[in-house]
Symmetry: C2
Subunit: 478 residues, 2 copies
């Protein structure tokens, strides 16, 4: 037999997997649309000049390039070929590549269609992206991103709303999460305070590993990279602030320090976080008071419903283009402890394509990790399936026409129904219904036809009874 397989890092999705994935996408889509975000789609391929150089050198290497069609060698860079230089040769024999994320194509979209767009532009986009990463558990070469961004508005209301959307999505999944937020400008201020402004990116890249490597690991990494004592003791202080769990309150001392040292970026960052936190608290407090009978103020504070949003001074996020608030979501249950949603504000993403001063902010859900967690925790609703509700047994040519009439009537009543196509042994037909998880099987023979009924069997309970069409409908609807 011929061997068949898929390119590594790619997957098929079976009907049951599709049903679960659609549950995730539909939930996210529903929340996005209820918040006024509208869908767009961009092509799988973008021009190389759109993608290359936007993700750092490492990113470029992970982009899948499409070989030019036809006689591509005739236009190849002969010098590069002669030298065996794959990168330069690639530049001469490819013009387009598969998208690496949805953010850069979105920036390209906004610039290209700027005259047709009314800003602020709230868009969502749920599409696959491709990365030539080394495949490993939970990391694929083709995976879906679910992005929502609003571009052309500076208002912190947008950040607030994105946080509320994240809360709502995970509430619908019934998954307990921690939402961490921070502001890039605070990290800039910190770098300035510590006198390492020129090495900020390097510093926050290390800082970002805190959750994985702990305080000791952090100190090791900083030392190894030649950061000196004051930086290390400053970092220890910072981590203590984070670990104190009171984030925003304790860090008010930091605000004072920024202000005293005239560090505007840090001050703005602190204020933005405090605005967002107090907006959130005010809103959810009011909602909670309106919908609950609050007897004791202290009880209320204790059960405050918005306490899964935490200011975390050590949150940095890898991507370079963030300039304001950043956000990351970690599941509190299950074995996966890494980010399942993230985002932030970027002040100049469209600037790279020639449209400056367009501030945007967005989030992205990682559907694949969410899938694994919901599956592990048994959080998919049991009815997550698009299978038929009922199957009619095929007793032979003569009987099929009447079964078909019933089946067609059921479909017009919006019930997924099918007739087994071949008049094979009944056992085989039942086995098929069973494997497709079809809950009901109907039989319509000569006698049933005369009495205008079908014999209906529930595959779970094994119960059988004769029913007329209307009873059939109400049975299945249960």
């Amino acid at each position: 037999m011929a061997k068949v397989s898929l390119p590594k890092g790619t997957r098929d999705f079976s009907p049951i997997e599709m049903a679960r994935r659609n549950y995730i996408f539909d939930t996210i889509r529903g929340v996005y649309e209820r918040h006024g975000y509208m869908p767009i789609e961009t092509p799988a391929m973008e021009r190389n000049d759109t993608l290359m150089g936007k993700y750092g050198g490492e990113g470029d290497r992970l982009i899948f390039r499409i070989l030019n069609s036809g006689d591509f060698l005739s236009k190849a860079d002969q010098d590069a070929l002669g030298e065996g230089n794959s990168l330069r040769t690639a530049n001469s024999i490819t013009e387009k590549s598969l998208r690496y994320d949805l953010t850069v194509p979105f920036a390209r979209y906004v610039v290209q269609h700027q005259n047709d767009i009314t800003f602020p532009f709230k868009r969502y986009q749920i599409q696959p992206v491709w990365r030539a990463d080394r495949p490993q558990k939970g990391r694929y070469r083709e995976f879906y991103q679910c992005d929502a961004d609003v571009i052309g508005s500076n208002s912190p209301l947008n950040e607030l709303e994105l946080i509320l959307m994240i809360r709502e999505v995970f509430e619908q999944f019934d998954l307990d999460v921690e939402i961490k937020i921070n502001d890039r400008r605070i990290l800039q201020g910190l770098s300035k305070l510590l006198g390492i402004e020129s090495r900020m990116v390097e510093f926050i890249t290390i800082l970002d590993k805190y959750d994985k490597i702990g305080l000791e690991g952090l100190i090791n990494e900083l030392t190894k990279n030649g950061f000196d004592k004051p930086v290390i003791s400053g970092t220890i202080e910072l981590v203590e602030l984070v670990e104190s769990g009171e984030g925003i309150k304790k860090s008010e001392s930091l605000l004072k320090e920024f202000a005293d040292n005239g560090i505007d970026d840090g001050v703005k960052g602190m204020e933005s976080i405090m605005d967002i936190m107090s907006g959130l608290a005010g809103l959810l407090d009011k909602e909670y008071r309106a919908s609950h009978n609050i007897e004791e103020e202290e009880d209320f504070i204790a059960q405050r419903p918005w306490d899964n949003v935490k200011h975390n001074l050590a949150l940095a996020r890898g991507l370079n283009y963030y300039t304001g608030m950043i956000i990351e979501v970690i599941p509190k249950e299950g074995s996966i402890k890494s980010s399942i949603c993230g985002g932030g504000r970027y002040d100049d993403l469209t600037g790279i394509f020639g449209l400056p001063n367009m501030s945007g902010v967005g989030i992205s859900f990682g559907a694949d990790r969410i899938y694994d967690i919901l599956l592990e925790l048994g959080l998919f609703p049991p009815e997550t399936s698009s299978s038929s509700h009922i199957m009619f047994i095929n007793f032979g040519i003569k009987e099929t026409e009447d079964s078909m009439l019933w089946v067609r009537k059921l479909r017009r009543d919006k019930i997924n129904a099918e007739l087994y196509p071949d008049p094979v042994k009944i056992g085989k037909q039942f086995k098929y219904a069973d494997s497709k998880r079809i809950p009901w099987v109907a039989m319509l023979g000569e006698q049933e036809k005369e009495e205008n009924v079908v014999k209906l069997k529930n595959l779970e309970s094994g119960d059988e009874k004769y029913v007329r069409y209307d009873d059939l409908i109400s049975q299945i609807a249960k």
Copy 2:
């Protein structure tokens, strides 16, 4: 300003285009699922050995190949490189490609997962495919196919059901179509009768052009390709049969001729078509009689609801793998006169991957052409949009919190609602609502807040009134 553009033959989809496209996909998906077909998805990339050689030499040329990552030149075929042979070089520097259709990936899926599948397997698949075709009006390099196939069953009930599904999809689109069917075995029989069995593929490729080039064009092409007089006069007879419009009835004489000459293939093909047509007629007659008050038998015949399905002896369809019934759908309205849906039975598609004797039959809708036709004929429902139902005006920081509370309440009641994020001039906010086609705008100032109402404005009529929350809901629900 930097110039931004897309690879040629590819497109962005704006929110309004997305809404229309989703209307098409949702309609087709709904019909598929009500008929017991279940969704699968396969990755965008397949291994070259899965795709290459399955679409003829022309097809191979149109497949987009993915350049190997990293130092691909180190493994390149040096001889091919030296000779400047692009094709052989491509084989040595690419291992995977973008899928060209959904049928070959489906065959690969069935073979790969055969132990997990209960046959007959009814699956649908709605995904993009990529072809390096020369772009032109209505032809793109990335486009969606919407396929349904059932594999592992020989029953003609499957063909019947696929035809009923096609009818239902276009009924829902309110688009008048002609559904042409034929059987490859009839064409085989014809080739035998005409004594050109060995040139059958060539003959039917010419025959397939009849709709475009007419009888005269057909005669020219046949003459040019060296077919002799008897073939030409036989073809003329055939076209007359087709043009008579009575297809199946008149062609019963053909059945006799096949039988007299012992041409089994032709006989089986004729019988399969007659089975399908009479099954369809019987079923729809019965349904029609049951749901209508039939007074005059002649009226009934005249308004017979199934007469958009026609047996067309000249229908051939290009693809090589069809072996039984073939089907093609042509719109009767609008300026596009080419196929918008097609399919057929194939006896051995999975044989190429080592799983023989799996008969399958399937159809595929061309979403892009259907889009163009529905747009031209104004057949998209007016409410085809996922935009917000209502927008709240932003009067400034103080007022937003109360507006947010209303907006969040509306969302929990499943109403798409948004608050404009910035406290800019009211005119600008109204313009935004207008351009997003949001029908309702709400204003909540100090006075409204005190009275627990909002001022609600309908953007179409210009009417304004003060409403409480419950009235707001019922207004919008209308």
